[in-house]
């Protein structure tokens, strides 16, 4: 697969504050590449640089073989941007929002009309096409924002927190559309702090923290490598807690992490579940579950609240 975005030692500084601190990554054509990280990790700054609306301080950043600084208009013409904030045009109807946006790409009117009809069908917005934006629910606005981002048939779709603030139904609807687009071969960049979303959609991802990339890999690889297969969450205190902690230390294949009153036990071995059960047999406050990206994320970025 060929590389469509390439960043080398990419740095972004604002008045002494370093938002992105020398990162390297490449995105391949047709994949969904995720940027995960807590708020302030540098995800949005990175995609803003890719979208040519934030100048690069240092390093190299090329999109589709073109340096972002050199030809921003050309790069922007092959990108579809779905921002985190709602910036649909409230002065215009649903359909006009798409039509006016298509014009920014110099799309001929007939072609735009045809694409708008198609995307209204795809995003189930046909009945709403003449409504003002204020009449749309949050989920419908999201769908329209994604439809708008696709109007120029972009090579790369940039999604910044595409499902933040959506109810579960609306979120699943958005995911379904994004999976469909991926099947159509659209390269996607996804910034999110929803681990489930990343696990669901991303082929590869990086976890960012304080402007740096901590790890890179597929969701499954990262889970396997950093937390193993299964997790037991045990709520224990006093003697019981001490006993469990001492016992874990003596067994290979189990790792433990304490967070306030919960002990997280991770296992990498096939008999891990049995081993864990053996350890914590006398606790009734225990939950077993498969390890997930959230465990990796919290393990790498720490459990403290980051503001």
């Amino acid at each position: 697969m060929t590389e469509i975005i390439r960043a080398r030692n990419l740095v972004k500084r604002y008045d002494g504050f370093t938002a992105v601190d020398g990162i390297d990554f490449s995105v391949r054509k047709g994949e969904c590449f995720g940027f995960l990280g807590p708020n302030g990790a540098g995800k949005t700054t990175t995609v803003r640089m890719i979208s040519c609306v934030s100048p690069v301080t240092e390093g190299e950043l090329a999109v589709d073989g073109v340096d972002v600084w050199r030809e921003p208009r050309r790069i922007k013409s092959i990108l579809g941007v779905v921002p985190q904030e709602d910036n649909l045009d409230p002065d215009l109807s649903v359909r006009q929002n798409l039509a006016v946006y298509a014009r920014y790409f110099d799309m001929p009117r007939e072609l735009a009309d045809q694409r708008i009809d198609e995307s209204l069908v795809l995003f189930q917005l046909v009945d709403k096409q003449n409504e003002p934006i204020a009449a749309l629910s949050t989920g419908l606005k999201r769908r329209l924002t994604i439809a708008r981002g696709l109007i120029n048939q972009p090579k790369i779709l940039v999604l910044d927190e595409p499902t933040t603030g959506l109810d579960p139904q609306a979120r699943h609807m958005v995911w379904q559309k994004l999976r469909y687009l991926k099947e159509q071969g659209v390269t996607m960049l996804l910034c999110t702090h929803y681990m489930e979303e990343a696990a669901h959609l991303c082929d590869r991802l990086v976890i960012m923290h304080q402007g740096r990339i901590l790890v890179e890999g597929s969701p499954a690889e990262l889970v396997e490598e950093y937390v193993g297969r299964e997790v037991a969450e045990v709520q224990a205190s006093g003697r019981q807690r001490e006993r469990i902690l001492t016992d874990v230390a003596s067994r290979t294949g189990l790792t433990v992490e304490e967070v306030e009153d919960i002990i997280y036990i991770h296992t990498r071995t096939p008999d891990g579940r049995a081993q864990m059960a053996d350890l914590i047999r006398d606790s009734d406050k225990v939950v077993y579950r498969p390890a997930n990206l959230e465990d990796v994320f919290l393990r790498l970025t720490g459990r403290g609240l980051i503001e």
């Binding site: 604002y14 979208s51 609306v53 934030s54 100048p55 600084w69 921003p72 208009r73 050309r74 922007k76 013409s77 990108l79 941007v81 921002p83 904030e85 709602d86 910036n87 649909l88 045009d89 409230p90 002065d91 215009l92 006009q96 006016v100 946006y101 014009r103 920014y104 790409f105 110099d106 120029n152």
Partner: protein, 268 residues
């Protein structure tokens, strides 16, 4: 050279024909709302001509005014000049600020091949267009009062476009540094309103104390009002070229300032 510019984070203004796309966006919105938007430019000059022209004008003796005019004739060119000024300044003041900060429209547009400089240019051209539209409405009102004495008055919309470009540029320059929508009040209270009342529309400037007369020469509206008097009364002369040059220079300087300052604000 390019490397050096990049290190300094300096980018030359990048204006293209795509400014027209931004103008088109504003036009489409206007066409949705045009009836409501037509009320001000019809009602305000009408009320002003009735209150000041007919009402107050009855108390003003002709001999006090240049050219032995009736008071309503004296204020008509100024009214044609300053109401479009308000329209253009408001469009690129409250209107642009609202689009930029509340609706995030600029952010949405610059994610496409349209540059921020295109956005700014399109906004100013639109502000100028709004001034022109206003002037056409006001021209109709003043014509209905029988106050247009020269065929040169047909050039009023052209003058309105040029002068509104200047006012729109000044206004957008201020908007580019405004922190909140309420801070625009400073601009409108201290810059636009004084020009409206003190720009030579309602009384001859010779009535002002001498220092203020000198100051008024630097005020853009004074030169705009001068040109309109020439057009409406049909006595254009070479002096008006100086007024035009003044307007062109102020317009160009503030257009450039708006470009640079908005680019700084939005491309970070």
């Amino acid at each position: 050279m390019t490397i050096a510019l990049r290190r300094l984070a300096i980018r030359l203004p990048d204006v293209s024909y795509r400014a027209y796309r931004v103008w088109q966006r504003n036009r489409d919105v206007y066409l949705r709302l045009w009836k409501a938007e037509a009320i001000w430019p019809l009602a305000e000059p009408l009320i002003t001509l009735l209150a000041l022209g007919v009402g107050l004008g009855g108390l003003v003796s002709r001999s006090e005014l240049p050219g032995d005019q009736r008071y309503i004739e004296f204020i008509a060119p100024g009214i044609l000049a300053v109401f479009p000024m308000w329209t253009a300044a408001a469009e690129c003041g409250w209107g642009s600020f609202f689009r930029m900060e509340n609706q995030r429209t600029y952010h949405a547009i610059i994610a496409t091949p349209v540059s921020i400089e295109d956005v700014i240019t399109g906004e100013i051209l639109w502000g100028a267009t709004r001034g022109l539209i206003s002037s056409v409405y006001i021209l109709a009102v003043t014509a209905a009062f029988g106050l247009l004495n020269s065929p040169l008055a047909l050039l009023v919309p052209v003058a309105a476009y040029v002068s509104s470009f200047m006012f729109a540029s000044v206004s957008l320059s201020y908007t580019s540094i405004a922190r909140s929508i309420s801070s625009l009040n400073y601009f409108f209270a201290l810059f636009v309103t004084p020009q409206f009342w003190l720009g030579g529309v309602f009384f001859p400037l010779e009535r002002l104390p001498e220092e203020l007369q000198v100051a008024s020469w630097f005020v853009p509206a004074t030169h705009v009002v001068d040109i309109y008097r020439g057009l409406v009364e049909g006595n254009l002369n070479l002096g008006h070229l100086g007024d035009l040059a003044w307007i062109a220079v102020v317009g160009a300087v503030f257009y450039y300032l708006a470009l640079v300052s908005m680019q700084r604000r939005l491309i970070q």
